[in-house]
Symmetry: D3
Subunit: 121 residues, 6 copies
C-alpha cells in the first residue's frame, strides 16, 4: 500500500468515508494536488508515532479553534475527534480550556460547531 | 485551601516556582487582578477533571503556537508541558503535527522557543 | 444579589433580554459553565468602575472588529453599544477610525454587521 | 478627471461594473467615506506604477487569503484578478504556493471561493 | 495650513514631537509615502469629529492590543493615549476589559508594553 | 538529482547559501523533518511551473507580511525576493499596496525588516 492509499485509509477512518469523499470531490477538478497533500498529511500522522490519533485530533481541534475562520475544517475534525475516541465531554473541555488563551469569540464559535456535529450523530 | 491558594500551588507545580513568581512580580504593581485571574485559571484547570494536566499543557502549547506573537507564554508553557510529563519528542511532534494547519512560520517560531527551553534545562 | 444574578441583570441591560436568553439557551445543554462565565464577565465589567458601559462597549466592538471571524459576537455588541447609549454615528466612526490599523476587510465586515443591526431596530 | 473619477474607472475595470456598483450601494447610506476611500485606493494603485495591475491583484488575493474571514473581499478580487488577466491556473497556483506558509484551512477557504467565482463566469 | 501640516501638528500633539520625528526618520528614505499617509490619518482623525482624541486613542490601543505583533505601535499609542488625557488606570482597565474577548497572551503583551511606557515617563 | 537535492539547490539559489545553511543548522538537532519539508517545498515551487520564482517570492513576502509575527521568515524572503530579481522598489511597493488590506502595523513591521535587509547588502 503506497503513501496515498494509506493516507486515504487513515483519512477515511478519522473523518469518515463520506467526509473524505467530499474533500476529494471538492478538490479534484480545481486543485487535485491539494487533495493528494491532505492524504500525505494523514499518512504521515499515521506513520510518525509519538502521538496517537486521539491526541492528534485534540491538537488539530485546538489549532483550528484558535486560528479562526475555520468552521468547515472544525466540523470535519470535531467529527474526526469523536471517530477516534475523543468523547463529547473532552471536546467541550478543550474549548473551555482554551478560553483563557483565546477568548470567548473563538471558543463560542467552536462550541456552536460542536453542537451541530453532536446533533447530527 | 481557597481557590487562589490552590491556583498558586498548581501554577507552581506546572510552570515552576520561579516562573510563577515572575508572573506575580510582573503584574502586582500594574494589574494584580490579572495575576489573580491566572491563579483562578490554574485552579479551575486542576478541579475540572475530564482532561489531565498533560493533555491540558499539550492543548495550551497548541493554542499559543497557533495564535502567534506568544513567545513569552510559549516559553512558560513548553517548560510547563515538560514539568507535567510531556516529553521533548512529544512537544516537537505537536509542532510538526500543526504544520499542515498553521504553516511554517508559526511552527518554526515555536520550534525556536522549544530549542531555547530544552537547552536551559 | 449574587455575582451571577447581577451579571444576568447587566447582560440583559446591555445586550437585551432576548439576546441574553439566546446566549443561555445556546450554552445550557452543551457548556453551561461558559454561560456562567459570560455572566461573571458582565458582573465584573459593572463593578470595576474606571470605564463606563459606553466606553466598554466601544472597546468591545473594536476588539471584535479587529479579531475577525466574530460576526455573531459583533452583532450582539453593536446592539449592546446602541443599548448603552453609543450612537449609530459613533459606531460607524469606530469602524472608520480602525481602517488605518486593521485594513478594509475587517472594517467592511463590521460595517455590514452594523448595517444589519441598524435595519433591525 | 479627478482622483475619485479615475478611481471609479479603475475599480470598474478591475472588479467589474456590477461589483463596483454593489460596493457603492452597500456603503452610500451608512459610510460613504469608506466608498470614497476605496476609490482613492484604486486611483493610487493605478497611478503609482512599479507594479502592474496583474501583480497587484495577485498580491491582493494573497493578502486576503492569508488574513482569513475575507470571503466577500476574496470573491471580488479573485474575479478582479481574472479581469486583469491572471489565469485560473495562476489563481489556483497562488493558493497552492501559500500552503506551506499559511496552512490548509486558509488555502481551502480560498479554493472554495475560487471555485464559486470560476463557476459563475 | 494644509492637510499634511495639520496632520503633523496633530501627530506631534498625540504621540509627542520626538516619536513623530522618529516615524518620519524611519520612513523618509525607504517609503516617504507611508509617512505622508500617517499624517493624513491624523489630519482626518482630527477633522472628522464624532469621537474625541481620547476616545480615538482608546480605540487605537484596543485594536493594536487585539491584532498582535504590534509592540512598536502599541508603545507609541499607549504614550499617545496618556498624552491626550487617558489615565494609566484607564489604559490598564482597557487591557483587563479585553481579556474575555482576546485572551491572556494579547493582554499580557499589552500590559508589558504599558509597564515600559509608564516607567519611562 | 533527487527531490531533496534539488530542493537544497533551489533553496540556496533563492535565500542564499548562508541562510540556507542556518535553516539546516537550526533544525537538524531538534526537528530535521522540518528541514526536509522546507527542501521539498522549494523543490515543488521549482517544478510546478505556472508562476516563476519572482512571482512566488512576491507572494511569499505578501503572505508573511499579512500573517504577522513573521519577522525571521520575512527577513529571509525579502532577501530571497531580491536574489531572484525583485527590485527594492517593488518590495516597498508590495508593502504599500497591502496597506489598505492589512493596515499600518503589519506594513510598518515589514518596512522595518526590509530596511534592515537593504542596509545589510
Amino acid at each position: 500500500m503506497d503513501n496515498y492509499e494509506n493516507g486515504l485509509k487513515i483519512r477515511e477512518s478519522v473523518i469518515g468515508k463520506e467526509a473524505s469523499q467530499l474533500v476529494s470531490d471538492s478538490l479534484e477538478d480545481i486543485a487535485p494536488l491539494l487533495n493528494e497533500k491532505t492524504l500525505l498529511a494523514f499518512d504521515e500522522a499515521d506513520k510518525r508515532k509519538i502521538l496517537d490519533m486521539k491526541q492528534r485530533e485534540m491538537i488539530t481541534v485546538t489549532a483550528l479553534l484558535t486560528q479562526g475562520d475555520t468552521a468547515n475544517q472544525l466540523r470535519i475534525h470535531i467529527q474526526g475527534a469523536l471517530n477516534v475516541g475523543v468523547t463529547r465531554d473532552e471536546i467541550v473541555e478543550i474549548c473551555i480550556h482554551c478560553l483563557p488563551y483565546v477568548g470567548f469569540p473563538r471558543v463560542l464559535n467552536a462550541i456552536a460547531v460542536a453542537k451541530q456535529v453532536f446533533s447530527n450523530q
